[in-house]
Amino acid sequence: MRQLISRGEYRDALDRAKEIHKSTRTPASEALLVDAYVERIRALIGRGLIVEAKALVELVRDRHPSSRRRLDGLATPAAADRRSLDDLVRPLADPALRVDHRAAIERMVQRDVWDLAALASCEALPAGHGLRTGAAALHRAFVAVTSGPVADEALELPEVSRRSPLAPWKLLARAIAHFHSGNREACEQFLQAIDPESAPARLVPPLRAMLAGEPAAPLPPHRAGAVGAPGLSPAAAALRAAITRKPALVRELEALDRAFASRSRSGILKLIRSAVEECRRESPARLEALKQHISVRCAIADLDANRVIAAIGGRSRHDATFNRLFARALEETRDPERLVLACAMWDEFRRTSAQEGWFADNSPESAAVSLHIAGLLEQLPESALRELQQSGRRNARVSGRDISFLFPDDLYRRACVLDPHPEAFSRWMAWAVRQPGRHADSVAKTWHKIRPQDVEPILHLMDEAEARRAFGDALRYLTKVERIDSLRPDVQRRRLRFLAGSVIDDLRKKRPAQAADAVARLAGLPEAQQGDWPAVVAALRTAVSVVRGDADAMAACRAEVEALLQGHATAAMLLSAVATAAKQRAPLGRVEDLSSDERASLPRALTRVAMLAGELRLALELPRSWMVEVARQFPATREALEVDELRALAQWAGQAGNVQLAYVATVEGLARGGESEAGFLYLRAQALTGSPERRIVCARAAAELARDRQDTELVEQALAIARGPFGSELFSLTFDQARDVLRQEKAASAPPGQRTPEPDYGHLIPRCQCADCRRTRGEPVEPFDDFGIEGEDDVGLELPPDMPPQMVEALLDAAAEAARRGESFDSFASRVLGGRSPGRRRQARRKKRTQR
C-alpha cells in the first residue's frame, strides 16, 4: 500500500487500506487508513478540488475522530481566498444536493468561515439565499456590538435560525454585547453555548481571559472553572490589550488619586502637572473642571496654594461650580471648623449662582441652599456656634458683611418663606423646639399662618396652650385639627382632657357656673360615657358642689362616684386628686378606717386612679400611711394586676418618691417578660435612686433593648437617665450585655438596702483612673500620678469664689462641649478665662517657687 502511495495511486491505496481495516479493525489498520485518506485529500487539494477535499475531510473526521488533529493541518481556511469560499458554498445553491453532502458543507462553513462580509456577498449563492442574508445580518450585528452599546432587539436576528451553520455567530454577538455592558454572567452563558468546533469559538478564550482579569462579582462555582485561558494567541492578546487599555488621562488621574489617598506629598505636584497636561491634550473641554477639582483637593490636603496654582498652570476659575465643589469637600471632612467654612462657601455659592444666572436669589433653589446650611450648622456644638455668632457679629460691624448664614433661625425662616413646604417648616420646628425659651411657639405660629392646613404646628400650639392651662385656646386648636383630620385617634381623648382641665381651672378661679357648664359639655360627649370617665365627671361635679357650698349635691355626687367605682377607697383617691387640683381641701381619711377588704384592694384601686390621674394630668398624692399600706398589700394582689396596671403603679410610685413600691412593681413587671421588659427595666432605673451606678447601667440596658424594638421614645427616656445631669456618655452596652443586665435585674427581687446582695456591674463601667480612686481600690499609685490629674486645684479652672452656681454650671457645660469637640483643656481655659493657660500658670508658679 505504501508503494501504491509512493507511485501516486492514491485511490487504489485507499481501497486497499479500507479492505485491510475492514478485516482487521486494529488501531494500526485505522492509522494506515487515515494515512491513505490524508494522501487522497492532499491529491484532491493539489488538483484544485477543494470542495471534494473538504467533504472528504469532514467524512474522515466523523468516521475516525482520532484523525482530527492530522486533518486540521490539511484544512485550508475557507475564506482565505474568495475562490475557495465560492467553491465551498456553490453546491448549496443546488436544490438536488444530497443531504449528507449538504450537511458536510454546512459543517465546514460553521467551522471555517470567519469572513461574514465575504459570505454575505458571495456570488456563488443566489442573492436571497439564507446563508447570504444571515451572514449579512450577522455582519451588521458584529460590527455594531464591537463598536458601541446595542439594544437587545438589534440582536434578535430572526434571519439566522438555530439550525443554521451561522447560529454560533448569533451567540457570539450576544456574548460580546453582554461583555461590553458588564453583564458577566450572561456573557459567560452565551460563551458556553458556542460550539467549540465553530469559527466564532476562536474568540471564546480572549473573552474569557478578559472576564477573568476583572475584579467583578465572582461567577458561580459551577462556571468558575470555565473562566480563564492559558496562553492567548498574539492576535487575541492584542485584542485584549486594545479593549482593556485605559486612556492616558485616566492613568494619570489614578496615580494622582493614589498620591492624595496615601497623603504622600512627595511628587504630587509633578503628578498634578502631568494630569493637567494630559487633560489639555486628551480632553481640553474638561480642563477647567479638572483644575477646580485639583484646587479643592489640594486645599483640603493643606498643600501650598501658590505651588498648586503653578502646577495647574494658573488659578482655577472661582465661580459657582467651584464654590459648590469646595463647600461640599469641606463638609465631607466632618471637621467642625471646616463645617463652618463649608457654610460660608455654600452662602457664597448662593450668591455667585444668582450672579451667574443659575437661579434667582429668591427662588426655591436658593431656599434649598439655606436649608442645607442650616442643617450643617446643626451639626456644630451649640456653644461653638454661639461663640461663632458672637465673633461674627463683631466682625460684621466692621466689615458690613452679611453673616445670616451663621444663624439657623434666619436660614430656616428664609427657606420657609421662599419655599413654604412642610418639610422645611418641620425642620425649622425641630430646631426651634431645642432652643431655650418659647421660640418654637413663634415658629409654629408662623407655620400655621403660612400653611393653615398643616396639622403639626396646630398640635404644637395646642400642647403649648394646655401647658399654660389656656384650655379654651387648646380646644379651639383641637377643633381646627378635627376639621383638617377628623380621623386622628387622639383627638377625642384630648377633648375630654381639655374640658376636664377647663372645669378645674374654673374651679380654681371660683367660677362655679362656668365650671358647671364645662362639666355639662363634658358629660354630653359620647366618650365620657366610656370606662371610668363617668366617675371623673361625677368627681368634677362634686368639686363644683363644694365651690357652690351645696352639701346635699356634694354628698349625692360623692355617692355617685363611689357607686361608679364600686369602692370607697378608689372614690376617695379620685375625689382627693380632683379636689387637690381645684385647690380644695380633700382629706383622704385614715387608712385604718378602711375595711379589710378595701385595704386588700388598695393596690388595684391606686393603680386605677393613677391611670386616670395620668390621663387627666393631675397630681395624685397619698399620705404616707396609705402608701405603706399599699406596699404591704401589694404582694398579695400583684398577680391579679395587668401589665399596664403594673406599669402605671411603678410610674406613679417612682414619681411620688415611693421607690420601694416602684421597685416591687418592677419586680412583678419584669417577671411577666415579653415586650414590656425594656419599659420595666427603665422604671427599675428610675426606682434606683440610691444606687447611681446600677441606675445608669439599667437605663443603658433599657435603651439598648428598646432600640432593638425600635421604641425611640423609650430609648430617649432611658438615655436621659443614663447620661445623667451632665449629658455625658460614660459608656455603652452591647445588646448581649443588655440582655445580661436584664437577667440579673429579674433575679434581684429585693429592693436595694436590704441584706441581699445587689447585682455587680463593675465590669461594665469604666473605672476612674485618678490617684485617689486607684488608692481607694488598693491599686498601685506612682509618685507623679498626683500631678496633672483632675480634681487638683492647681490643674483645674481657677474660679472666683463668689462666682454664682449657675455660671459655674454653664462653665462646666462649656468645658464638656469643648472636650467633646477635641479642644484641649489648656486651650479652653485660655479662651474662656483669657490670659495664660493653666499649664503656663503652673509653669510660672513652679518658676517662682524655684526662684524663692
Binding site: 481556511p77 470567519w114 469572513d115 458584529f142 460590527v143 464591537t146 463598536s147 437587545d152 460580546i176 461590553h180 455592558s181 453583564n183 454572567e185 469559527a199 466564532p200 476562536r202 474568540l203 480572549p206 478578559m210 476583572e214 494567541s233 498574539p234 492576535a235 487575541a236 492584542a238 485584542l239 486594545a242 479593549i243 482593556t244 487599555r245 485605559k246 486612556p247 488621562l249 485616566v250 488621574l253 489614578e254 494622582l256 488619586d257 494630569a275 487633560c279 480632553s283 473642571a289 479638572l290 477639582h293 485639583i294 483637593r297 461650580t321 459648590r324 465643589l325 469646595f326 463647600a327 461640599r328 469637600a329 449662582s353 426655591p364 433653589e365 434649598a368 441652599v369 442645607h372 418639610e423
Partner: protein
C-alpha cells in the same frame, strides 16, 4: 454619591417622561433578579429624580468632591473600550 442623572443616562434638564423612559430602559437592562445591586442604584436614582423637590435639591447641591478623580473624569470611558470589528476579526482570521 453617584449622580442619578448619570445612572439613568439622562440630562439634568430631562422631562418627567424622559426620566421614566430612561428608567424603564435601565430596568430592562438590569432586572432585579439578574443584577440586584445595579437595579437598586437605578431605582434609587429614579426615586430621586421623579420627586421634583428632591430633583431640584440634588441639581442645586450635588457636587462630587470625594470620588477618585479618575472616576469623575474617566467615568465616561468604559473599562471595556469599543475597538470596532478589526481586532476581533484578526483573532478569527488567525485561527
Amino acid at each position: 454619591m453617584i449622580d442619578p442623572t448619570e445612572i439613568l443616562g439622562v440630562s439634568a434638564e430631562a422631562t418627567d417622561e424622559e426620566i421614566r423612559a430612561a428608567y424603564l430602559l435601565k430596568v430592562r437592562e438590569c432586572p432585579p433578579d439578574r443584577a440586584p445591586e445595579q437595579f437598586e442604584r437605578v431605582r434609587d436614582a429614579y426615586d430621586m429624580l421623579r420627586d421634583p423637590r428632591r430633583r431640584r435639591r440634588h441639581r442645586v447641591l450635588a457636587a462630587d468632591a470625594v470620588s477618585p478623580l479618575a472616576a469623575i473624569f474617566g467615568g465616561q470611558t468604559p473599562s471595556r473600550r469599543f475597538v470596532g470589528p478589526g481586532p476581533w476579526l484578526e483573532v478569527l482570521k488567525g485561527k
